[in-house]
């Protein structure tokens, strides 16, 4: 234990004196991410709110052909303005989000009781125009139903005859679960933190020590190699944990600045959430540190280790990306898969859903078991003769 403590202390002091490590592990890593993400999110949310409340300026080509329709649109907070000469081109050039075209034969078809054609011109690949397109389509469909119903009534027929089914949408998402959609990136940010925080120490304490030719004298000391490894791993995990705590603190400080309440969304990011998030990710921190130590033990130089660990940074993305693309129902076995379990639990935490003690325990225990296994492998690697040989 004494040896582990001594190695831990020395590695901590040495790395605290390294400006590059400090900057990356304790400033850039934990702070830059949250600031950037909250900043972007805040911008996006403000735009969303702004757009929903603002009257929509809709360019309409041929507004003279359908004055009643245009008047109806005005009542739906849609302000009609003259369309550009070439609507398709205006959409392609992104000058307009959506343009409504009313043909010259609209009036004739209307009079004859035939479906009167209107065209909505838009670009479906432009995500930010979807809100406007949806508002125009909604308004047109409402107008369509109203006029249709009136025509049937005029002929003595109940409008319900053309509505064989009544569709009622009941959105089961709660305010908190809607905020989960916005915060889908958060578990990923926290999981990435576990990998980034200790990365520089994992490299420095193994591959770096080898490159600097100090590992051979170190291993000539009368102490078991696994204890040296354990001290280094402890220092790596400590830095990763510190980085994680700072990340959580940054999120807790910045989240209240988001105008989420105005969207009717509730967000839980209090002290209890932060402590639980830390508890959930702690096994992952140790696991990540151990795996990084393993990879760094294979590398001969600092640069080589850096490139290995850079690839490892992609690992925590896998469950996040998979869950974003194919949302799956959570099953209990998923709690035994590291990365996946942390992702699911953090997601629940942010959505303020109940986390069962069994789920939490299963994730923590399997995480710790795997971390121990990885640490054992790292210790075995330290026992290899070739590890000490620098040249």
């Amino acid at each position: 234990m004494k040896t582990i403590g001594r190695v831990f202390r020395k590695e901590t002091i040495e790395n605290l004196r390294d400006r590059r490590t400090m900057l990356n592990a304790l400033v850039m890593g934990p702070l830059l991410g949250p600031v950037l993400l909250v900043g972007l999110l805040s911008l996006e949310l403000r735009r969303e709110i702004h757009r929903a409340e603002k009257p929509l300026d809709l360019p309409v080509a041929g507004e003279e052909h359908a004055p009643t329709l245009v008047a109806f649109l005005g009542g739906r907070n849609i302000q009609v303005k003259p369309a550009p000469a070439d609507p398709e081109r205006a959409i392609r050039d992104q000058d307009e989000e959506v343009v409504l075209k009313i043909g010259a034969d609209f009036g004739k078809a209307w009079e004859a009781g035939d479906p009167a054609p209107v065209e909505i011109v838009f670009d479906a690949s432009r995500r930010d125009s979807q809100g406007s397109v949806g508002r125009v389509r909604d308004a047109l469909e409402t107008y369509d139903h109203q006029v249709g119903a009136l025509r049937l009534l005029a002929r003595g027929i109940s409008p319900s005859i053309v509505r064989p089914i009544a569709i009622v949408e009941r959105d089961q998402s709660t305010a908190a679960s809607r905020s989960g959609l916005f915060l889908g990136f958060l578990p990923y940010m926290l999981i990435i933190g576990a990998f980034v925080g200790g990365m520089y120490l994992a490299i420095d304490t193994t591959a770096g020590e080898r490159e600097r030719q100090s590992l051979e004298p170190l291993l000539a000391n009368p102490v078991p190699r696994w204890q040296i490894m354990a001290g280094k791993l402890a220092a790596t995990s400590a830095f990763a944990t510190a980085s994680q705590v700072l990340t959580l603190a940054a999120f807790a400080a910045l989240m209240p600045l988001l105008p989420i309440a105005r969207l009717g969304i509730r967000l839980s990011f209090d002290l209890r959430t932060c402590v639980l998030a830390l508890l959930i990710t702690l096994p992952l921190v140790i696991l990540a540190s151990a795996v990084q130590t393993i990879l760094a033990a294979f590398a001969k130089t600092y640069r080589e280790a850096q490139s290995y660990l850079g690839v490892l940074l992609l690992a925590p993305m896998i469950p996040s990306v998979i869950l974003m693309v194919i949302p799956v129902k959570q099953e209990i076995w998923m709690m035994t898969v590291p990365l996946l379990s942390q992702h699911l639990l953090l997601m629940k935490l942010v959505r303020a859903e109940t986390i069962l003690p069994t789920e939490c325990a299963l994730a923590v225990v399997t995480g710790l078991l795997l971390a121990t296994a990885a640490a054992w492998v790292a210790a075995r690697l330290y026992e290899r003769e070739s590890l000490a040989i620098s040249a």
Binding site: K10, R17, R212, L215, E216, P217, L219, P222, E385
Partner: protein, 245 residues
Amino acid sequence: MIEAIDLHKAFGAIKAADGVSFRAEDGQITGLLGPNGAGKTTTLRMLYTLMRPDRGQVVVDGLEAWPDTVAVRRRLGVLPDARGLYKRLTARENIAYFAGLHGLDEATTRQRCDRLIKALDMADFIDRRTEGFSQGQRVKSAIARALVHDPRNVILDEPTNGLDVMATRNMRAFLKQLRDEGRCVLFSSHIMQEVAMLCDRIVVIARGRVVAQGSPDDLRTQTGQASLEDAFVRAIGSEEGLFAG
């Protein structure tokens, strides 16, 4: 006392040590002499238990290195071929780190440090971070680090490598001082003159085998050559590599 008993070590098809046996006595300086690539570093690495021999045994002060590895390490002070320092720590912190790993308490560490600072003339730079040290300052720090636990046996791999004339002279004087304190000093070199000047006993190693050993006089007699230089050449079997450096 350090004994190498029939040490074998192969890396793939290359036999770095092929039955190396010799003995380094207390109160003597023993030189391991051989051309580059003769197997000196591999032999020393087995002696300080960094590598385990495929066959053979290392005995230090009567203790077998396998299984008594930790006990043997306690009795050895080692300056390996790789002698990197921690550049963000001061020289004193570097030394104290290793003292701690040897289980020394703080008072003892401070006392040993003071003695080594005096013996190696390190007072000027002991509390500076080692980044930017000269080669001589670095070697001094590495030696102090290796000797802080006051070992009976000292193993040094090419200790004068990269040192200027003054630093080399100081190093030689320091090795003699260690011998006069009754320690067993074993060092490797590929420079014949240095070994001839310093050693009480010489072990000549070539192609992973001991080809001759004894006092400088013994070597001359064994090879039937008048000069030591000719004796080495005869023992090694070629002139290659002997005069480099």
